[in-house]
Symmetry: C2
């Protein structure tokens, strides 16, 4: 089964558990709206790709971890789009949750998705309870304080922010959780996979900064120019566009080099390069490299 199909099937399965006759109907609809249709599902794809490289010996547990990570990501998008943050009307090419269901349900939808993320793991029978606990610890660290995506977002409320610390928490943390979870679910050493998650997470954030500046709203599926508009730290602002693209390319090289040796090393490296092309297409790189800095 292709990775993306495996993820969508697992997400449908895990989200169905929130849907029961005793559930408030609009909350369930808002949760579905927040999760389907998805974006590139890059985090859960990464988790499954690492799992395959580690033998994929606990596929249900791996699927649960991948879904938990994606639901945490979706929850953060729902809350980030609310009026007190980005006040974004669109997300993934459709109406944002707070626009479709109102602010109260958007707030509750994010909360419910965070809890549902834990439910993915808790409701998956496992022969390895110690792996389930370790996965929940890993994912909690990547979401909460002090170093997770919620803390990353909170840095936007501070007057003094170090760019790399901000990006490591805001985006990097969940990418690191994705690669490490793919290993952990198989009983493999997560530390060997940390470097790949770190490099890809930072590359992803830098690419987002680049696209935010270049104004490709259709590709992004959300409004552009948000970083300048909200005065947020941005690699494109700090390094200039050409500098940011050069930095992005260095991160992709680091990601490729950090894939541990093994039977699936080259296919994982190809996945990284394909993702790189999706994030910042080659014609953008060649255009920017001749433009004055």
């Amino acid at each position: 089964m292709p990775l993306l199909e495996r993820i969508e099937t697992a997400l449908t399965h895990h989200l169905a558990r929130a849907d029961s006759p005793s559930s408030p109907p609009q909350l369930v609809m808002a949760m579905h709206h927040a999760v389907f249709p998805g974006g590139a599902r890059i985090r859960p794809q990464l988790c499954l790709a690492v799992s395959l490289a580690c033998g994929d010996n606990a596929p249900e547990l791996t699927n649960a971890a991948a879904c938990a990570i994606e639901l945490m990501h979706c929850a953060s998008l729902v809350h980030d789009d609310m009026p007190c943050f980005d006040d974004a009307d669109t997300r993934r090419g459709q109406v944002a949750v707070h626009k479709a269901f109102g602010e109260p349900l958007a707030l509750l939808c994010g909360d419910a998705l965070i809890v549902q993320a834990y439910q993915c793991l808790l409701q998956t029978p496992s022969a390895h309870p110690e792996r389930t606990l370790a996965l929940m610890q890993l994912i909690s660290d990547s979401v909460g304080a002090p170093d997770g995506i919620v803390a990353g977002q909170a840095w936007e409320c501070e007057t003094r922010v170090e760019l790399s610390q901000y990006q490591r928490a805001k985006t990097g943390a969940l990418f690191v959780a994705s690669t490490c979870a793919g290993a952990l679910a198989n009983g493999a050493d997560p530390q060997a996979w940390r470097g790949l998650g770190e490099a890809l997470g930072e590359a992803y954030q830098v690419a987002d900064d680049i696209r935010d500046v270049m104004g490709d709203a259709q590709h992004l599926g959300k409004p552009v120019g948000q970083d300048v508009h909200h005065g947020r730290p941005s690699a494109a602002a700090a390094l200039g566009l050409a500098g940011a693209i050069q930095y992005f390319e260095g991160l992709i090289q680091r990601a490729v080099a950090s894939v541990p040796a093994g039977p699936r090393q080259s296919s994982l490296q190809k996945l990284v390069l394909m993702e790189s092309e999706r994030l910042v297409p080659r014609h953008v790189i060649s255009h920017a490299s001749v433009a004055p800095v």
Copy 2:
């Protein structure tokens, strides 16, 4: 150690873990503001009281569960007070989090507290991983969809709501988790303690409705008249004030009767009666019983 002191010590310990040099300072301050000083801490007290009745054979795990429940409760208060819900200026007698730190940090603070609740259990070494997992499952069910406090809050966004289903989810769920967690942490049967949580949870919600109508803002530590103002389902609205008080008394009798037999039965029953007097003082009951319905 008295129950309340034990809870405050454990909460201080568990919240300190979010506080590190890499944490955004305002987020940490907002989390502290949301948790300290506390209200009556009735949920964690209930958890510890049941634990004592069950032998208190895993005190660290019990403390972690009690803290997790209290942090989930605090998170829900922070989000409920935001402008898109109650728009409340005060909570527990102090300025509400969104008023003190702004809406973005209030939103993130609630999210971080939910994750921190899981961290309480995940970061507590336990000789009983199966108990840790069961506690996280219990608490997740009492917070998320379909039947937890987030779902309870979401019923307020529906046009058709059944009062008892709404109250069972909005308030009852976390009370049931409190009594059941006290048993589960000790390896005892949680089902024996479900009835106490159900009756107390409903009594607590009915008492809140009564006080909201009677206008005792100082006692409540938050604005009054909110149910009518927001058109929320309310026992006082459905039954009239005298009817609601009579219903409350019946629930307290049910709670007392549901305490399982054992060496601590009578002290737990006394705790229920004391809590009843705190929730709806006797002079209120005697006044309302002579007033015309």
